[in-house]
């Protein structure tokens, strides 16, 4: 059982406020991912939970008990670092055993737990090696093993995969997910990679500049981003945005027009919008259809053909760059004129004044 509650947490570095009052509840057994651009405070937040950074204000509770004043060593959490932080002068076995020795676990119990963890993570064969004799993936496993043997209340991961190559990252992603299923512990995972966030999380927390922008299930965030930042951050390639002005706004949908006079329709409630308001239209590359006729004409700037998928980089008449993700291959070439179809049920609309999203009446991708 480990419920982590953040109650209006604040972190100040001198006069600079890095975390501006973050409140969040992470349920027992939940896989929670903090995601955001670099410098957004996600690592700081994790280190505050770990006890490696002092908490300047607010309260941190684990299982209902305030732990602000407890040292990192007393909180019963385990952390996997981006740099792995394996003790270079110890063998893998000693690395795994170090934490247990510190709490005076009996020798045979240490051995049993180390062997169990080693078997689970398939690192038995190099228990007697030093960290520098291991490859990146193996080190990563040892670092995770060091957390696992401790049987902590909560696992903390600080960008654990960012030092691995792309292929290994996918493998380790799966392993961490399956580890979570097997152990069922609460896990908090920090990453700047939104693919990791989407694939692993039960709950994603998107942070920007020390503030939570949105927290929720991955698909909720994907389907109903609360603002333009979250919409642009989740999804790859990022969502296309077009600066528009509102033509008409009704409860069932809004019609907007861009600088070149093209009109678009979005299935969102027009509450609080009036004709002439500035807004931003958003559509994800995978929802932008390219056709021979109809829709809005765009010029193809470049094409990336991956065989199974194609990415089209185009420009509208108004000079806005658009990316389209097509399944399969395409016969279009650079310089061609194509037609982009904006389906209203897949189109997002954000207010021009504060970037907040207008509630979608129909979510095309969830149907």
């Amino acid at each position: 059982m480990a419920v982590v509650e953040l109650d209006n947490l604040v972190k100040d570095y001198g006069d600079v406020r890095a975390i501006h009052g973050v409140s969040l509840r992470i349920d027992d057994g939940e896989f929670c991912v903090f995601v955001g651009p670099s410098g957004c405070g996600k690592s700081t937040l994790l280190r505050m939970i770990a006890g490696l950074e002092d908490i300047s204000g607010g309260e941190l509770r684990i299982d209902g008990a305030r732990v602000n004043e407890q040292r990192a060593s007393e909180r019963g959490l385990a952390m996997v670092f981006q740099t792995y932080a394996l003790y270079p002068h110890m063998t893998v076995r000693e690395n795994l055993a170090f934490g247990l020795e510190n709490i005076k676990t009996p020798k045979d119990e240490i051995k049993r737990r180390v062997d169990d963890a080693a078997r689970m993570l398939q690192i038995e064969t190099y228990l007697d090696r030093r960290p520098k004799q291991l490859s990146g993936g193996q080190r990563q496993r040892v670092a995770i093993g060091r957390a696992v043997v401790r049987e902590p209340r909560v696992f903390l991961f600080d960008e654990p995969l960012s030092n691995l190559d792309a292929e290994l990252r996918v493998v380790m992603r799966g392993e961490i997910s399956s580890l979570h299923h097997r152990l069922g512990n609460t896990m908090i995972y920090v990453t700047h990679d939104q693919v990791e966030a989407m694939t692993m999380a039960d709950k994603i927390v998107v942070l920007r500049a020390g503030i939570i922008e949105q927290a929720g299930a991955p698909l909720d965030l994907y389907n109903r981003p609360v603002n333009q930042f979250v919409a642009g951050f989740l999804g790859s390639p990022r969502m296309n945005f077009i600066e528009v002005t509102v033509v008409s706004a009704e409860a069932s949908g809004v019609t907007v027009r861009d600088a070149a006079g093209n009109e678009y329709r979005a299935s969102v409630t027009g509450d609080g919008l009036a004709g002439g308001d500035a807004a931003t239209l958003g559509i994800r590359p995978e929802h932008l259809d390219i056709a021979e006729t109809g829709g809005h004409p765009v010029t193809v700037l470049s094409i990336e053909q991956l065989g199974g998928d194609s990415y089209l980089y185009c420009e509208t008449k108004a000079g806005t760059k658009l990316t389209a993700h097509l399944a399969g291959q395409t016969a279009l070439k650079r310089g061609d004129t194509a037609h982009a179809l904006f389906r209203p049920d897949f189109t997002h609309l954000f207010r021009g004044d504060n970037g907040l999203a207008l509630a979608r009446t129909v979510v095309g991708e969830a149907v």
Binding site: S73, E74, A85, F98
Partner: protein, 347 residues
């Protein structure tokens, strides 16, 4: 070994630059090692041989022979002039400029030889009594023990104190950290002689005069050591310390189990320095230690130089014995300095 010595600076033949390099290095070796070698060889000479002019490099002793009819062994000389030129004769006694000699082959006949016409016959011989006297007549082992005690204890305390200070200065953020560090470094600018009197007063008040601790305590906190270790510890990633803290390690365990082992190369350097400083220390022990049973080797060496006479043979022998331990320490630890610096588990 031969291949090592004949290595060239580039591919191919031994050329002019290699020749110059070899000459230069040879000269340096001679310059550095020559005096020590001479001291070492001289330490095996008898007192009489040391006084000889011109001096010889090798320790040589006059050859003696037992001649029939004479009880004492007689010293042998080679005759270089006169009618007996080329013969090896034994000297019975010397009278003024003439010496009475005898041919060992014909012991009955006595010969008169001018002392200018003969040179002593000598052979290579080690005067080991120089060394044995140190143990028999002088209390070498006591001085040795005093020196070892001061050196070892002071070095251990130096390493512990300096590494703790360096740990705090490199890994903790606190107000005035830079100030403290600058102050420590600033003490390097104060010449030790200026500190002599104040430190003496403190040591005296603490009642440590004529005690090895009076030598040890003032020496253990060295700005050089703090600086050296701090700079090295800055290169230890903070993540390692944080990982240890997450692993329930107390700050003391972080220091003892993580920082100290990882700073081993820097500590080896400090150990070498500290051992050399304490072992070769002369002025401070001279002031603090007045009783001969507390003398370190350096003070004992000094004591050999009496006001009226100096026992050079024993002095040289003791010098060599004093040099040995430090040479061994250096030889053992120098390997440690060059290896292991690059070890790191952090990618």
């Amino acid at each position: 070994m031969f291949r090592f010595l004949t290595r060239t600076h580039g591919r191919g033949k031994f050329d002019v630059i290699d020749g110059l390099t070899a000459v230069y290095l040879l000269l340096a070796v001679l310059l550095m090692f020559g005096p020590i070698l001479w001291v070492a060889l001289s330490s095996f000479k008898t007192e009489a041989a040391l006084q000889e002019y011109p001096p010889t490099l090798l320790p040589l002793a006059p050859i003696t022979a037992t001649v029939e009819g004479y009880e004492e062994p007689l010293q042998l000389f080679r005759v270089t002039g006169g009618e007996h030129e080329g013969k090896v004769l034994a000297q019975i006694r010397r009278v003024g400029l003439m010496s009475q000699m005898v041919d060992p082959a014909a012991p009955a006949e006595r010969l008169q030889i001018n002392i200018k016409d003969r040179v002593p016959e000598r052979e290579f011989a080690l005067a080991l009594e120089n060394y044995t006297a140190l143990f028999e007549r002088f209390n070498f082992l006591l001085y040795f023990w005093n020196s070892v005690f001061i050196t070892v204890i002071a070095t251990i305390i130096t390493v512990i104190f300096n590494s703790m200070a360096a740990f705090a200065l490199s890994k903790y953020r606190f107000n005035g950290r830079t100030m403290v560090f600058v102050l420590i470094i600033a003490t390097l600018m104060i010449p030790p002689t200026i500190n002599l009197v104040p430190i003496y007063l403190v040591v005296q008040q603490l009642g440590l005069i004529n005690s090895p601790w009076g030598v040890i305590w003032p020496a253990v906190a060295t700005p050089t050591g703090v600086f050296l270790l701090r700079q090295y510890m800055l290169t230890i990633p903070d993540d390692l310390l944080d990982a240890a803290r997450m692993d329930h390690a107390s700050e003391w365990r972080v220091y003892w189990k993580i920082v100290l082992p990882l700073a081993a190369p820097a500590i080896a350097v400090l150990v070498i320095f500290s051992v050399m400083w304490r072992w070769n220390d002369f002025l401070w022990p001279l002031i603090v230690l007045n009783r001969s049973e507390q003398f370190t080797l350096q003070l004992a060496l000094n004591a050999f130089q009496g006001e009226l006479q100096t026992s050079w043979a024993n002095l040289l022998a003791m010098t060599i014995l004093t040099l040995l331990p430090i040479t061994v320490v250096f030889a053992v630890l120098q390997k440690y300095i060059t290896t292991g610096i690059a070890q790191s588990g952090v990618k």
